[in-house]
Symmetry: C2
Subunit: 248 residues, 2 copies
């Protein structure tokens, strides 16, 4: 699907809660500072550690934000889709990209220079506040992942990752909820903090149990409820059925 520049901008702005509460005049002012770009699948919008030269507002497609460790292992920090801002948040800190952004699909995005962006923030207080709320949401979700990583087992983390993805990029299809992005086992491993092998084994097991349908770069959640159960109730192998919360 190809959109005109105006339509692109419009749809991106309309979908972005970031711009909620701004007047029409403000929006026009904003729109003038953004420039359209296109990226092919697997292309990088920017690289970890580089000085920030542009922020992007996603219009079409999805990107992953990854961090790479010295020995080459990757972690996916976020998946971002239309209406979301890429690269801006962490850069307000020190001006270098803390991760790389890679296109998962063909991506259309609107770029803005850091200087222009900061100027916008000064000019439109509403924007700063919206962005603050957005950042708060991201923080919250990253906090949850932190907790899961340190306290939960790989299997449950994977279940949670799938649930999250379903909410974020799920699309209803006949058999259930399709995760609407090309996710390899490797990518799922990086999202859930485990290895490609464990992901493969676990997904297969769940397919046997009728919870999922899996294919190459494709997961359909057939039984959402069963998955939620796996994510929330899945006990330790041999365990107390459930301990009530101490401060319940």
């Amino acid at each position: 699907m190809v959109l005109t520049r105006e339509a692109l901008a419009l749809s991106a702005f309309a979908r972005a809660p970031l711009f909620a509460g701004l007047g029409q005049a403000d929006l026009v002012d904003l729109a003038a500072r953004f420039h359209p770009h296109h990226f092919a699948r697997d292309e990088a919008l920017f690289h970890e550690g580089h000085r920030a030269h542009a922020y992007y507002l996603m219009a079409e497609g999805r990107v992953k934000i990854i961090q790479t460790s010295v020995d080459g292992a990757e972690v996916i920090l976020h998946l971002l889709g239309p209406g979301e801002l890429v690269g801006a948040l962490p850069n307000l800190d020190d001006g270098t990209y803390p991760g790389s952004a890679i296109a998962l699909d063909d991506v259309s995005a609107l770029s803005i220079s850091p200087a222009d962006f900061e100027a916008l923030l000064e000019l439109h207080p509403r924007l700063a506040i919206n962005l603050l709320h957005y950042a708060a949401g991201k923080l919250r979700s990253v906090h949850s992942r932190l907790r899961e990583l340190t306290t939960e087992r790989a299997e449950r983390r994977l279940a949670r990752t799938l649930s999250r993805l379903a909410a974020q990029i799920g699309r209803g299809v006949e058999a259930g909820v399709l995760l609407d992005a090309p996710l390899t086992r490797q990518a799922l491993a990086e999202l859930s903090g485990t290895s490609l092998f464990t992901v493969s084994r676990t997904l297969k097991e769940w397919e046997r149990q009728g919870v999922l349908q899996v294919g190459r770069e494709r997961v359909v959640i057939v039984n959402t409820h069963a998955l939620a159960t796996l994510a929330d109730d899945l006990p330790l192998p041999a365990s107390h059925p459930q301990r009530p919360l101490p401060h319940a």
Copy 2:
């Protein structure tokens, strides 16, 4: 040490980069909306899941922000000290505390109601922007921890945790850098994503090597450089010396 209310407010405001760039008149306006509180060690400023009733600006002491998982395991998300804001950030999202805040010391803090706080943001755009930068920094550090947790081994994570703590709450003493907070092995475990046992063993080992001095709820970093080496260069047990980055 006991401070007058005014002195408390002054010192807290002065230390908070949050209030940088605000005029004297603005500061007076702000100060009027904050109310002093005191908490004893181990007391909770607020509890995970509760509706937010107040945010706090730290004046004296330190708090930990923790999340608890269903089976009772805790993770420390942040340690916060004087000049930092407690509880506000994640609440801008949905209004419930995503973690509990527990005093590590005796704590003096200034509270403000969420409504007043949001009003301040509207009134003082500078404040929103400052807060945004602050949130960006937090995001960045949490991202690093996420990456470390999924890609690095327990020993190295612990080394990093100590380095971070040294920068954050370190105090120079004769023997080296003292971590100036009552940190049990358990707390270090929750910060570095491992178990109390592994922390104990590893610290002892490093003490033998002369990197640290450890005691009950007490760590002094003797050889900062050695610790940094452990955090950054510590290779896999039997390993390639170092692989250059693929896209270097």
